[in-house]
Structure formats: C-alpha cells, structure tokens
C-alpha cells in the first residue's frame, strides 16, 4: 500500500518552543508585553506595538470570534489532497490578537463571520500539537 501524504508537521524552533509546549499541554500560549500590556502573534522578540523588548509568555483564553475565512480548493501541497476543500480562518482572539487557523467540526456552508469559537489542540505527533478551533 502506498503511503498517503499528510499535512506538514511544524518543527518548533527556539523562539516558538513555548507556543508548541503550551499546545502539547492543551494551552494557547501567546506573547504578552510587560511594558504596554498588549498581546501579539506570531512570535517575535520585540513587542510590535510599543517596541519594548519585554515579552513574556502567558496562557490566552483560547476564545475568539471568526473574523473572516476562505475555503481552499487548490492542492498546493500533496498533504492536503484528501482535505480539499478545507477552511482557512482568521480568528480574532479575545486578547486582541488575530490568528490564522482552521475551524474543525463545522461544515464549510455553516461557517459564519462573527461566530464564537474556542481553541482545541490537535496532537499531530507525540511531540507536536497545534491549536485549532471549534464552535463555542
């Protein structure tokens, strides 16, 4: 039997390790600035809002609202051949951060901008988990 290609699995790096460690433990970890108290995503060393280099990792609520989405029909990577059409979503987290992810358990036709969603964690391997979202 030929091996079926699967979705790419991220390889955590030094900067993103706390994010992936959190996901493995079922927490959505984001960077929070001690200087201006704003959250940011994706990971970086310096706050994009106030430019202070004083970011700490904190657990976010994992709750948010669907800002917009699209349904992808193209197979740009063989790991998605069995998944098309699939959704790609921008989710406005309650912390004020916009994050790209997938919503699971909701048919494409039932996705609605403004719907409330919450993070769930998908264990891709023993080492790597990623957050996704479901209807809240």
């Amino acid at each position: 039997m030929s091996q079926t290609a699967t979705r790419p699995v991220p390889v955590p790096d030094e900067l993103s390790a706390p994010f992936f460690d959190g996901a493995r433990a079922g927490r959505l970890m984001l960077q929070h600035c001690r200087a201006c108290s704003r959250w940011s995503f994706p990971v970086r060393e310096r706050c994009p809002h106030c430019f202070a280099k004083d970011l700490e990792w904190r657990a976010a609520s994992g709750k948010g609202t669907l800002y917009t989405f699209a349904i992808m029909h193209q197979v740009m990577n063989p790991g998605f051949a069995a998944d098309v059409p699939y959704n790609v979503c921008q989710i406005d987290l309650d912390e004020g951060v916009r994050m790209v992810s997938n919503i699971i358990g909701v048919a494409s036709a039932d996705l609605r901008i403004g719907m409330r969603v919450e993070a769930v964690f998908d264990a891709l391997t023993n080492e790597v988990s990623v957050p996704k979202f479901r209807a809240a």
């Binding site: 699995v9 991220p10 790096d13 940011s40 990971v43 699209a70 740009m76």
Partner: protein, 391 residues
C-alpha cells in the same frame, strides 16, 4: 512651476507574453529593454541607470547588468515591495534623475515561472516556498498557502460587511476581458460572459478562477528621463506628475483591517496633492488587479465611491469599454498579462500617448496607476499625463 512633472517615461518595451517556454527571465528582460530603446530612439550606451523589480524566484539580481551588457552605470538596484514595486521604482528613478545621479534609467520587470509541466498555481506557489520551522510550519499545517487565500479572506470580509456579491466581482472580470480582446499583447482573448465567470472553478472561495490574475512569462521595460530631455526624443513624453507609497502595516491586531482598508487611500491622497489635480480629473484608471476584488477595494480607497460601495459602483459596467471610468484597458493582469505593477504602468503609457488603437480612451489627460503588494500590504500610486504639469 507648481505641480511640474517629476520625470518622463520615454520608452516602453513589452515582450510577447504567456506560455513561452525555455527562456530565462533575464533574456526576456533583454528583449524588453531592446524594444524600449528602439521605441525611445535611444542606444544601449545612453542608459546610465538600471532598476530591477525583484521577482519571486529572485533570478533578476544585480548581476543581470552584466548579462544585459549595460556598462558605465551610475545607479543600479533591485527593488522589492512585491506588486507595488513598479510605482516605487518610478518614484526613485524620478528622484535620482532630479538629484543628478543618472540621466536615463531603465526600469524592468521580467519573470519566467511557467514551464510546460506545471500549472500556473504550482509555478507560483510550489511547496518549496513553505518551510516547516516554527510559525512558518504552523501556517503550512493549516494549509495557508499563497496569496489566493489571503485575498479570498479579504474579499469574504468585504462581502460580509457590505453585501458585495460575485456579480460585482464578475462584472470586473467580464469588462477586462472585453478590453483584452482589443490589446495585441493580451493573453486571454476568448469572450467571457457573467455566466462563464460564475461557472469557472473555485480557487479559494469566494474567489473563482476568473477572479484571479494570470501567470506570465515575459518582460516589460520602461525608460525614464528628465522632462526637459524627454522633449527631444522620439515618442510623445508621458509625464509623471505624482507619486506616493503607503504601507499601513498589519500587526495582526484585531483593531486593524488591512483587507478592506488599504494603503490606496493615503498614497492616492498624496499623489493627487503632488500632481495638483483631483479625482474628477482622472479619465482612466490602470489598477493593480491580482484579483477582481483588488480593483473593487482600490477604487473605494481612492475615493471613487464610499467605503463599501465598490460593488454597486462597478455593477453598471462603467469600468469596461464604453463605460464612464475605463479601467485596465489592456485587460489588466486578469486577462492581459501578469507583470506585477508593470502591467498597469505599461498600459498607462500606451493610453497617455494615444497609441491605444481601438481601445484608446478619449479622456487621457490624467491617468491613475496603482501598485499593490503582499496581501494588500504595500501600495504605490502614480499619476501620469501627456501634459508636463498638473494643476
């Protein structure tokens, strides 16, 4: 003189476009430059500046100067703000000429991503572009590949907020196909109806195949010099009256809306002010049209209609042949050819010179040209004219 021209476009070279295989981008570039020199009545030795638009494969690097055989240059650079770069290159060329850094500068975009074995999408966004480390790997896992999705999400947001429909996108595509049928350079000549648009396959919903630009092998070159020198050359000069860039930025904070409120607004205001004209003076728009949606949101941000009213604004077909705001009159990137911002710039030169043949617009006094890069992240605006001054 107030609002005098900042520079002049005196040469245009456009190579054959599309599925022309087996040639390198730099060889297309050489052809485009040769055509532009002939058009301008200049020699290769007259060129003392070279600005190259970086392309996605990054195979047009500064060493292209040697392959092109350009010698004794006093200005060379490769520039990149993705699809907005052309307007920025024009801005820098005019500034460099005014500062005396160079006298005659060639601007070129060349690309050759299409091969016989790969489709347009794969050519442009192959898996090699998606690394797996850290946050990039997270994007790859979610399947967030390429520009199609980003623009589709922006369009979806616009539809949600303002009731924009696929008919609004479709009328843009249909109108541009009609223009393309009148352009000798356009790749897509087959008639397109609204029904054809609605039946074309989904790429990334809400965008269909006919909402998406082409991918082209080819090159476009423009030659820029001072307004004074331009008067003695072969072609009627096309004067650059206004230019501006605007890049609003996106920190992925929930209080920003880059998909529906773009840099066209600010760069347009600055360019109009520089040219000393108003929107009412514009007879034609040549807008960056990577997607039908890009045209719609750019028209809103330039103020041709209120925010959110782009759909109803275009619905009567005013952008197409015979309409009140002829736009993308060479077919644009949707039906003409995809040379990033060199697509709208090249058509603006044709129209400002009055060389459009059966697609020539009547009111060519002031033409608005946009560039757009990233996912609506970077914006450039040019105002060009057959007149050496604006207001």
């Amino acid at each position: 003189m107030a609002n005098a021209a900042k520079g002049a476009i005196v040469g245009l070279g456009v190579t054959p476009m599309g599925k022309i295989y087996g040639r390198r981008a730099v060889d297309f570039a050489a052809d485009a430059i040769a055509l532009a020199l002939e058009d301008a009545g200049l020699q290769k030795s007259d060129i003392d500046g070279l600005l190259i638009n970086a392309n996605i494969p990054n195979d047009m690097d500064p060493r292209s100067q040697m392959t092109l055989g350009l010698e004794n240059l006093s200005l060379v650079n490769v520039m990149s703000a993705y699809g907005s770069t052309g307007g920025s290159m024009m801005q820098y060329a005019c500034m460099a000429i005014r500062e005396g850094l160079a006298k005659t500068i060639v601007l070129v975009y060349a690309d050759a991503p299409l091969t016989p074995s790969r489709g347009a999408g794969a050519s442009y966004s192959g898996p090699h572009r998606f690394p797996l480390g850290g946050m990039a790997g997270l994007k790859a896992h979610y399947g967030d590949f390429g520009a199609n999705l980003g623009y589709a999400m922006a369009a979806q947001r616009h539809m949600h907020l303002y009731g924009t429909t696929e008919d609004h996108f479709g009328i843009i595509a249909v109108g541009q196909r009609k223009w393309a049928q009148m352009s000798p350079w356009a790749q897509m000549k087959a008639p397109m109806t609204m029904e054809d648009h609605h039946r074309s396959r989904w790429i990334a919903e809400p965008l269909r195949l006919f909402d998406c630009c082409l991918v082209s092998n080819g090159a476009v070159a423009l030659i820029v010099t001072s307004p004074e020198r331009a008067r003695d050359l072969k072609q009627k000069p096309v004067y650059v009256l206004g230019y501006a860039q605007a890049s609003p930025g996106d920190n992925l904070a929930t209080d920003r809306h880059p998909g529906v409120e773009t840099g066209a607004k600010r760069s347009g205001e600055m360019a109009f002010r520089m040219a000393g004209i108003t929107r009412q003076d514009i007879g034609s728009c040549q807008l960056y049209d990577c997607y039908t949606y890009t045209v719609l949101v750019t028209l809103e941000d330039y103020g041709f209609c209120a925010k959110g009213e782009g759909g109803p604004f275009v619905a009567d077909g005013k952008l197409g042949p015979g309409g009140s705001l002829p736009t993308n009159t060479g077919g644009g990137q949707l039906s003409g050819y995809y040379m990033w911002s060199f697509t709208p710039m090249s058509e603006a030169v044709v129209q400002a010179r009055g060389q459009g043949g059966e697609r020539q617009i009547a009111r060519n006094d002031f033409i608005l040209v946009s560039g757009n890069g990233g996912i609506l992240n970077f914006h450039s605006t040019l105002i060009v004219s057959p007149h050496a001054s604006g207001g």
